[in-house]
Each structure stands twice: as C-alpha cells, then as structure tokens.
Amino acid sequence: MVAVATIRTDESLKRFFYASLIFHIALAIVVAISTYFSPGGESWGAPGGSVTVGLVGSEPAIPLPEPDVVSPSRVVDESKGLYKSEPQPKPQVEPDATPIPKFEKNKPPKYISRPSKVLENPTPPPPNAVPYGGGGTPSVPVTSFAMGTTGATAAGLIVGGASGGDFASRFGAYVTAVQQRISREWLESTVDPSLMYAPRVRVTFDIMRDGSIRNIQLIQSSNNRSLDNSAIRAVQSSSPLLALPAAYSGSSVSVEFYFDFRR
C-alpha cells in the first residue's frame, strides 16, 4: 500500500515537471523575441548617438542654466510679537494599561474652562502680526535711568522740548540739525512693506565733540525687528553728525530720539 502511493506521487510530479519545463522554455523564447524586436535597443552605444566629452576649455562655454534667484524675504521677522502662535501638538502616547477609574472619586469638574479673553482673541491677528517667540524683552527703558535722565520717560515731546541742562534751549538750531539729518537717513524702504503703523521706537545715543555717534541703544522696541533695525541704521548712517557747537563746553551730549512710523 505504501508502494502504490509512492508510484502515484512520482507520476504526478513528473507531469508537473514537464509542464513547467515547457512553460519556461516558452517564456524564454518570448523574452528573447521581445528583446530582439524592442525599439531603441539597437542604437544603444552606436557611434552616431554617442556623447562627446572634452576637456573644459573655459568656464562660460558651458551653457549652465540660470540659477534661480531667490530673494530673501524681507517680511520675515523673527522678533517676538504680540500674538501667540499655536503650540506644537504633543504626540499622544497610548498608555499600555489604564487604571480602572473608581466611580466614587469621579466627581464632575468644579470649574468649566471658558475661552480666555486674553489669549484666545476672537479677532484674527492682522497680516503683519509678528509671531510669538524669539527674543524681545518687554521694553523697559532701563538705559534711560542709567543715563541719569529720569525725565526721559515723559511722553509727547517736540523738538527741543525737553532736555537735561540747557542744551536744547541754547543750541536749538543744533538740535534741529540733528533731527533733520537723522530723518533724512531714515529710509522707508528699509521697513517691512506690510507694516502700516507701529508703536514709537526710542533710540538713545551720545554725540561726541567731533560729531561722531556712540553708544547707540534701542530703549523701546516697536516689536517689529525691521523697523527697529531701520531706526538704528538711520542713527548709524548719520555718523558723523555736525560737530558740537563751539560755544558748548561739554565733551558729549546724550540724545533720545524717537521714530514714529505711520504709512
């Protein structure tokens, strides 16, 4: 009984083997024929279609494609802004096992959280809002104390309106000249074009005897980095200013200069 079974198995295997052999041969023939007749296979590597490679004679002979001109966006402003951007969602990790809650201790919450009026402002931020995060301390005019100018925080002063000592009243023309110069060096094109209005920027600096400008400090930021930078640049490019008046005996004068931006 065992023998009969073996013979039967042999016969069936042989039949399948031959069938498979014939199929493979047929497949090989089909592949060979299709390769022979396939287009493009013939001309590959033929002399007519070859690529000639020579030494580089001069650089500009290679017709390189023009590089894409990527102009850096001047709108991007990494300074800290007034509006909080949405925090990154933390990846939720499924706990392997959760303790069975006890019914006795599961009380209803005492406090139902309402949307905060401060953080979740219903009005969407304006398009020129600076995203939250990244530098920019609250603008406390610390340096104005350090300069001994306690009156510097008084607001709304006009040309020569406030001063320590009698500099502005004695040399009003000099003050106006300084104001004219820095105003002319302040270029609108250096400010973020989408900015229409910004809080006042305050910059302090010292004018030396020869008119050079030292110790430029931003004491009040507008919360817009491009505007802050344009104000500082206006002061920097005004150096050297006019030399201090000959009738003035001091070696330097401190200036607090404000910039009001409104397009």
Partner: protein, 448 residues
Amino acid sequence: MSRIDAIFARCFIAVAIALLFAAGPMKAQDWFKTGTGLGITKARVAVPDTVARSSFTQPLPKTFHDVLWSDLDYSGILDLVSPSFYPLQAPGQPSELNAQAWAAAPAEAYMIAYGNMTLDGPNISFAGYLSDVHNPASPPAIQKIYRGAATDSDARRLAHQFADDIIAFLSGGQPGIAQTKIAYVSARSGNKEIWIMDYDGANQQQATHLKSIALTPRWSPDASRIAFTCYVPLRTVTSAQICMYSAVSNRLIAFPRFRGTNSSPAWSPDGSQLAFMSSQNGDPEIYVSDANGAKLHRITFAAGVSTSPTWNPKTGKQMVFVSDRGGSPVLYLSDSDGSNVQKLDLPDMGYVIDPSWSPNGQLLAFSWRRPSGNYDIYVMDIVSRQLIELTKDEARNERPSWAPDGRHIIFESTRTGTRQIWSMLADGSQPHQLTFEGQNESPNWSPK
C-alpha cells in the same frame, strides 16, 4: 522653572536698584530729546541782501548774494523765504539783527543767513553769520570770515563756501555740493574734448586738447584725476583707449595701451582700481586693473558685449554693468570679482544703459528706452527693486550721474533741441540747464 526665573529677575532688579542708589548722583550729562515721523519739513531760511561796507566798483556783493541764494535754493533741503516778506533793514552783523521782526509774520523765518562784505585793496572779505531768530540770545550757529580776491570768480567761490557751511550745518553734518565740479564732453571747440565746470554751470573750461574724440569722463574718488575714453592714434591705427587726466596738474598722465577697443572706465570707491570695457581678447568684456593699469584681469565671461561698469560706492563689493548677453542691453548686478551675476529685471522691455550708483549705495540711476518712447532717467531702489521715473516725455534724457550728497543728479538731455547738460534734484524736480553752447554730453559729478 518659571518660578526660578522670577526669583532671579527679582534679585537682578533689586541689585540694579541698589547699585543705582549706591552710585549716587550721576554725572550731569547734557541731553536732549527729539524725534521724527516719516515726513520732514524743510527749514525756512531768510537770506537778506549782503550788506556792502565799502563802495564797490564791481557788483560783488550782489554776485555773492545771488550765488548764495541759488546754492541754498537748489540744495533741496531748505525753504527760502521770499524777499518780499523781509523787513526793510538787512542786517550786516548780529548786533544789527532784529530777530523778532524776522521770526514774526510774514517772514516767519527759522534761520537767517546774512553778513557784510568789505573791500580791502585788491581783496574782499565777507563776514558771514547764520542765526536762529527764535533764540536771539544764543550765539550764531555760524560766524565766519571768508577772504578772497576782489574778482567775480572769487566772490562766487566765497558764496559757495558760505553756502556749503550753511548746508552742512542745517543738514546735520552732510557736506554741501556748492564747491563740486562737473566733468563733461563738449564738442564746441570742434572736437569732442573733456571740459570742467562748476556744479552750477559757471566757469566752463576746456581740460583736454587731444583733437580727436574724448568720451565718458569719470572722476576718481579723491577728485584728483579723471579717467576717460580717448581715441589716440598709434602707428596709423586709431583705437579707443583709456586715458587719464590729472585735475591737479591739468595734464594727461600715462596709462597703458591695450589691444582692441577700451572704453567706459569706472573707479573703485577707494580709488585703487579701475574697471573698463576691453575687447583685447575679442569679445568686449569688463576688465579690472589697478589705477595705473597694472594687474589687469577679466571679470565677465559671457558671449556678447559687457560694458559701462559702476561700482557700489558705499561697499565696493558689488558692481552693475550693461550687457546684451540676453538679447538687448540691460543691467546686470554682480559681485565686484564678477561672480554672482544676476539680471536686474524690469517690468518692461527696452534698452537699459548708463547705470550710476548713488553715494549711499541704495539707489541706482540709469537711462531706459522703453519700447514706446524716448530714453528717460529712472532710479531703482536696489533692495526693493522699486522704480521711480524722473523724466518723462522730454526728448532723450541719458547718462545720469549722482552728486556726492545723493540729492542731485546730472544728466544730458535733448529737450531744448540740442544735447545739453542738465541737473535736477534726485526726485526729478527743479531741472536746471547748465550748458547752452554747442553740443555737450556725458556729465560726471565730482565726488568732492
């Protein structure tokens, strides 16, 4: 963590306050406070007639006053009070100044520029004052004595000096341009030669006498030399070459001769290098050499013509030039070694030539012939690529060149029918014609 920060912050503030008190009274530093919005008002200045303290045979005080008036009027930063509003008495010195009369209506001046002129043999001296009429007690902002010969040209020179002092003061230390010069090409003597004149068109003098063709003068940054394109014959072959003229010794200086056509020189801002177009190796390309012509090297490599280089005068790191590599001549911006070439795209087609970079490096003036029309002067803000058209529908306006104060532009225009030199404020206002005789072109403003 935030709690620790808060503790640190409190400690810091406490220490700072303690230090502040410990330091006691600070040094009594003088200080003032001022500021600006975006717009600025021009200072209102009165310029009464110059008081003559002697009897003059020539009208020198009047010349002085007229030149001073036009200098201040054309500075672009002042608003001159009309003479019909002036009080009758013109002051000659601070003791004669009735400040209240000038500060009150209708004059309503903010400053007054005045003075007196005396004749002392062959010389004149002018005592000039600039006073703040709202602070009559304060000393004059300027009180200075200017001396010169009793000639018309010296009276003009003194007026220019006084005007520059006033403008330097009222602009807060930016020097005026009343003493600058213009180099230009004039054909009035029969050949195109280099001429030099004052910035207001006075004192026109011929500089070169090559009796061939001289073109594209360019002042060196110290205003001591002028590089230009000249056609000089050598063994019966005449070709365009770079020539060098000394404005100090008023003669030509040697500059090497190169093969092919060489033209349109430009100075680097430190005056140590010269960029120019040369076809010495076939294609007209831009080459850079030292100021004496040595160490020549090529910086552009593109099929087609590359010419009219101009350096960024502020940094010296960038260059703008004209090239027709893309078809028609347009401007290309590159680093000063020729790398990073990029086309300065404009919103329209046409020919764009004659780039001139403003002294602060932020604006580029050029002439542009759009498909519909004449050549007109445009100014581009390099960073934002914003365009301002300064001339419009007034014949051909070409070859702008910036004044060193960045507030004026000189150019050539055919709006009167002949090609003449004009200047204007950099916003396109107050055009002044400076030359009237013959054909004049290709002006270049001296840097000082």
